[in-house]
């Protein structure tokens, strides 16, 4: 597999949310608008690239028995960095994402890539894998957020094109499950024809 495929696999072929079903909690929890989805996706991407880099660099020094706790500490450190920087520079986004920022640490996607990819591959592949998977995650969250925002509020990225109310339930919690339930078969279909 060349590096280009390594990068692009996260978007459709092995999309972390729609195909691998990893990280469903933030995918459903924060996507009440496209902007929130984008913010959450980029925060996760940052953590994913950094943790993949560090894990690929130190993988030889970590004894096999304690590798999972060590990976968790690496991930938790980067999550703390993201948490503090977001609180300082984008407080509005930080407030709307709330609890889900510290919960990046238990996102199975991040630990899954550290354990399943970065601990076995070289540095360059790991960084590219982190970026590709992270941007695939961002794409999924932004898409889900956009669908929910269009249906639920008649707007996209805050730009309102429908007067008055739309189908409010898509902004609320049931809409997350339902929109996700219909997007998964659609992406699967695209993956087969692509």
């Amino acid at each position: 597999m060349n590096q280009f495929q390594n990068f692009t696999k996260g978007f459709i072929k092995d999309n972390p949310v729609f195909i691998l079903l990893l990280g469903l909690c933030p995918a459903l929890g924060v996507t009440s608008s496209a902007f929130n989805g984008l913010g959450m996706g980029l925060a996760t991407t940052f953590v994913l690239i950094c943790s993949n880099t560090v894990v690929a660099l130190v993988k030889k020094q970590i004894p096999d028995k304690v590798r999972i706790p060590s990976f968790i500490v690496v991930i938790a450190s980067f999550v703390t960095i993201v948490e503090l920087s977001m609180q300082a520079y984008v407080p509005a986004l930080f407030d709307s994402l709330g609890l889900f920022i510290p919960l990046i640490v238990v996102n199975c996607l991040v630990l899954g890539r550290a354990e399943g990819f970065a601990s076995k591959q070289n540095l360059l592949s790991s960084v590219i894998d982190g970026a590709g998977m992270g941007l695939g995650f961002t794409f999924a969250l932004t898409l889900l957020g956009a669908v929910r925002e269009i249906l639920g509020n008649g707007s996209i990225f805050g730009w309102k094109f429908v007067e008055g109310d739309a189908i409010l339930v898509f902004i609320l919690s049931p809409g997350a499950f339902i929109a996700m339930g219909y997007l998964i078969p659609l992406i699967n279909k695209m993956r087969k024809t692509a």
């Binding site: 469903l24 706790p69 500490v73 999550v79 703390t80 609890l99 510290p102 238990v106 049931p174």
Partner: protein, 190 residues
């Protein structure tokens, strides 16, 4: 009265799975059968309560006095991960039947965001120790309620003739959405 409000709001109004989207992985993963979902709920109740007590004590007596609250995420996840291991070892020794029943579910709980989420929320809502315990137990009960209801629905869904693309997870998500809609009816209760 205060405890009553905490219990009702955690179980029904802002149900941990259906309204707050925490613990979706086990909710989707092990809800195939009612019996396994009961086992998972039991393990979550156990770990969530202990984890909330321990993290509350750490937050109050270590992190705040030393002014290192920014290390909260790292401390909490390490505590939960080691706690799960310890609980597993202790159960194996003390109560083999309970270990048999919960055994396979315990390691899965480390990556269950519901446990970390509840521990962090107990701190951010400024609960005292007793309120935190009630909060954790009520949330675990809410998790169990959603889980068992959903498993019951999924057992029936296996017999349905669905379009090929919707089988499995997509149909389960749509059903979860309808279940969440039912739980919306509780909003405004407290």
């Amino acid at each position: 009265m205060e405890y009553f409000v905490i219990i009702i709001s955690a179980i029904f109004v802002s149900n941990i799975v259906l309204a707050q989207f925490l613990g979706i992985c086990p909710f989707m993963g092990v809800s195939g059968k009612v019996s396994t979902s009961v086992g998972m709920s039991g393990a979550v109740l156990f770990v969530m309560t202990i984890a909330t007590i321990v993290t509350w004590l750490i937050q109050t007596y270590i992190l705040i006095p030393f002014g290192i609250t920014f290390l909260q995420t790292i401390f909490f996840i390490l505590v939960i991960a080691s706690l799960v291991q310890m609980v597993e070892l202790m159960l194996k020794k003390i109560s083999p039947p309970l270990y048999q029943a919960l055994g396979i579910f315990l390691p899965l709980i480390t990556t269950n965001c519901a446990v970390l989420g509840v521990a962090i929320q107990a701190h951010s809502k400024n609960f005292n120790l007793m309120e935190s315990v009630v909060w954790a137990v009520a949330n675990a009960a809410g998790f169990a309620l959603a889980m068992v209801l959903f498993a019951g629905l999924r057992e029936h869904m296996d017999l349905m003739n669905l379009p090929k693309g919707m089988r499995g997870v997509p149909a389960a998500l749509v059903v979860a959405g309808i279940l969440a809609m039912a739980f919306l009816g509780f909003s405004g209760l407290v």
